[in-house]
């Protein structure tokens, strides 16, 4: 499976990134770099909306104990109650307050999204750098594995692995998501590394006797920042959706409170057919909003690397 045009795009993209770097500042330490990147992101309207939504979810996750009106696991309320002032989203089939569950569930989704996204990105960066920089037989083998992992449909693979692993929980979910979710990033970062390896500044660094780790960490990696960021947000989006899907299928731990398990229980108790649509609607909407916020931020990251996509004022 070849993506020739995509690889070309990546090569183009790099030159612009380098150019932007040269133009923008002579000395850039990491602190100002982060601030500058954030400001460019903030300028993009879509990314701004995304950052705002994500910010609200993160705050909700942190402040869950303060915000939620009841304990999410308390079963003291009447079962399957319709929405009311006391329970704005109604209660579940087990008699828990749905709003409290929704608020506490934010923690799991945000955590799984970030953790699985970060792990998948680390694996992608490592494999991409090794395959792209070392080349030769190692590159051929790694590229074959990457291409294979890209075309194997991920959800069936996650389902199969999760079924074999004994025990159910967030750890298992994060594991299967990151084990199946690194391939796309590895492919993109490999082509980026391959093209960077032949650049003058890398060759110069090699000739001046720099050691390999230093070349990789100081010369190559900084030029891939926006690609890595885009890969992280993409992987996190996929992780949020995959977690919900796996938990909905009953492959999560059904006794923890998360959006996925809320949907699992709603489906098991036939909440829709008894008219309790809020139990399905609310957690699903939150999953969609969280995933959408991450992809909206990614629009901004794309514009960061590719000025052609920036919005004209």
């Amino acid at each position: 499976m070849n993506f020739p045009l995509l690889d070309n795009n990546i090569k183009n993209l790099l030159t612009k990134e380098e150019l932007a770097k040269k133009l923008s500042s002579r000395s850039s330490n990491s602190g100002t770099f982060i601030i500058r990147a954030f400001l460019t992101l903030w300028e993009n309207r879509k990314a701004r909306v995304g950052i705002a939504i994500l910010g609200i979810f993160i705050l909700t996750a942190i402040l869950a104990p303060v915000l939620s009106p009841y304990s999410p696991t308390s079963t003291n309320f009447s079962r399957s109650a319709a929405p009311s002032w006391a329970h704005p989203l109604g209660t579940t089939g087990q008699g828990q307050d749905a709003l409290s569950q929704l608020i506490w569930g934010t923690r799991v989704s945000v955590f799984v999204g970030f953790a699985a996204g970060a792990l998948a990105t680390i694996v992608a960066v490592t494999i991409g750098l090794v395959a792209g920089f070392v080349g030769g037989v190692i590159d051929t083998i790694l590229s074959f594995v990457v291409n294979l992992a890209l075309v194997v449909p991920s959800l069936p693979l996650m389902i199969v692995i999760a079924t074999y692993i004994p025990g159910r929980g967030i750890g298992v979910i994060i594991f299967v998501i990151f084990v199946t979710g690194w391939a796309w990033g590895a492919r993109v970062l490999r082509s980026q590394t391959t093209s960077l390896r032949q650049r003058d500044f890398v060759v110069a660094a090699q000739f001046s006797g720099e050691r390999l780790p230093r070349i990789v960490l100081r010369e190559i990696l900084p030029n891939m920042t926006s690609l890595i960021a885009a890969n992280f947000f993409g992987a996190a989006t996929a992780a949020v959706l995959a977690e919900a899907g796996l938990e909905f299928l009953g492959l999560g731990n059904p006794s923890i409170v998360s959006w996925g398990t809320m949907l699992y229980w709603a489906q098991n108790n036939s909440a829709l057919l008894t008219g309790e649509w809020a139990l399905v609607f609310a957690p699903g909407l939150c999953i969609a909003l969280l995933a959408a916020s991450l992809s909206l931020i990614n629009f901004g990251v794309d514009a960061l690397a590719n000025p052609r996509l920036r919005e004209h004022k």
Binding site: L5, N9, K46, V151, V160, P166, L272, V280, G284, S295
Partner: protein
């Protein structure tokens, strides 16, 4: 032709990789899946020796070298021997899959082609009217709709169109009083049952094509030949479709393999929501019953189907784009 000949070894190698992955998976996992599966069969009735061997070849046995197990496994797969199902005892796994596969192929195949055509055309329109009302509406709604979990869209459709409005049946692939046959009334009934699942997949799957096409098309619109065509006074529809879109569509096709993977994953969840009699629903039943032989075979079949579809699109790509044929 030379392009096709060059692609075949790559395809075969990937196919071998997928088959080997399927062999290694149960062996890499903690515990011994084959013993767990066989223990379950013990209480159910006699299992013929050849079925027993097929299950062991798929899921692994504690004794025997890995190489000989691998040979046995390849031999069994070549003959379509996947053992028997625990959930649907004593049905052979291969029979269950053959019954379920046409449903998923028809559903996913139709939806993928429809999503590609509709999404791409809307993408052309959005790029042509960049930053106008349609573009803003399409971009924003597609960003959100592709973030919808497939099963959630399915649940909402089921609730609104099936339960509240009562327009469509809420479960199954055909009416409860019917049995699969080759009559028009059965096909009509099956299509009627498939409309809601298909709509679910279409809503979530279309956005990617639209956004991809829009983003490919915008740079194309700035190309000299497009401006030249405009200066020559060609009607704008002709410029958009015959000049710009024709060149912008190729990168959209390169993502086809991944898009197909997403739709297949989505269809598994959608089939569960609608109890649709395809491979996704079968996989779900296998998983909740720990039916390892059925699950492992389904994973293999789903993967191979995606690989084959991908290969066909690869060939199509070579036919469409003379540059990659070299």
């Amino acid at each position: 032709m030379r392009y096709a000949l060059h692609k075949i070894p790559v395809f075969l190698l990937t196919l071998w990789g997928a088959i080997t992955l399927n062999f290694l998976l149960p062996r890499l996992m903690p515990g011994t899946p084959s013993e767990a599966a066989l223990a379950k069969f013990a209480g159910m009735g006699p299992v013929s020796p050849s079925q027993l061997r097929a299950i062991q070849a798929t899921l692994g046995v504690p004794h025997g070298s890995l190489i000989s197990q691998y040979g046995q496994y390849l031999n069994d797969i070549a003959h379509g021997r996947f053992g028997i199902s625990y959930t649907y005892f004593p049905e052979p796994v291969s029979k269950l899959i053959i019954q379920a596969l046409p449903w998923t192929l028809a559903l996913v195949g139709t939806v993928t082609i429809l999503a590609f055509i509709i999404g791409t055309l809307f993408g052309v329109l959005a790029a042509w009217r960049r930053n106008k009302l349609f573009d803003t509406f399409a971009t924003v709604s597609c960003t959100f709709s592709s973030a919808f979990p497939y099963f959630w869209t399915g649940l909402l459709f089921l609730f609104v169109f099936g339960f509240v409005l009562g327009w469509f049946p809420i479960k199954g692939g055909y009416g409860a009083s019917m049995s699969p046959n080759m009559s028009f009334s059965f096909f009509g009934n099956a299509i009627y049952h498939s409309l809601l699942p298909a709509g679910t997949l279409l809503v979530s799957g279309m956005g990617g094509w639209l956004l991809g096409m829009r983003n490919n098309m915008i740079p194309t619109l700035g190309e000299d030949y497009v401006i030249f065509a405009e200066a020559n006074g060609l009607p704008s529809r002709k410029i958009a479709l015959r000049y710009a879109a024709r060149n912008a569509i190729l990168p959209n096709l390169t993502g086809f393999g991944m898009a197909l993977g997403f739709v297949v994953s989505g269809s598994i969840l959608t089939e569960v929501v609608f109890s649709y009699p395809g491979v996704g629903f079968l996989l779900y039943n296998a998983v909740i019953n720990n039916d390892y032989p059925l699950m492992q075979a389904l994973f293999l079949i789903i993967t191979i189907t995606v690989l084959v579809a991908n290969f066909l699109v690869d060939l199509l790509y070579g036919w469409l784009d003379p540059r990659v044929r070299r």
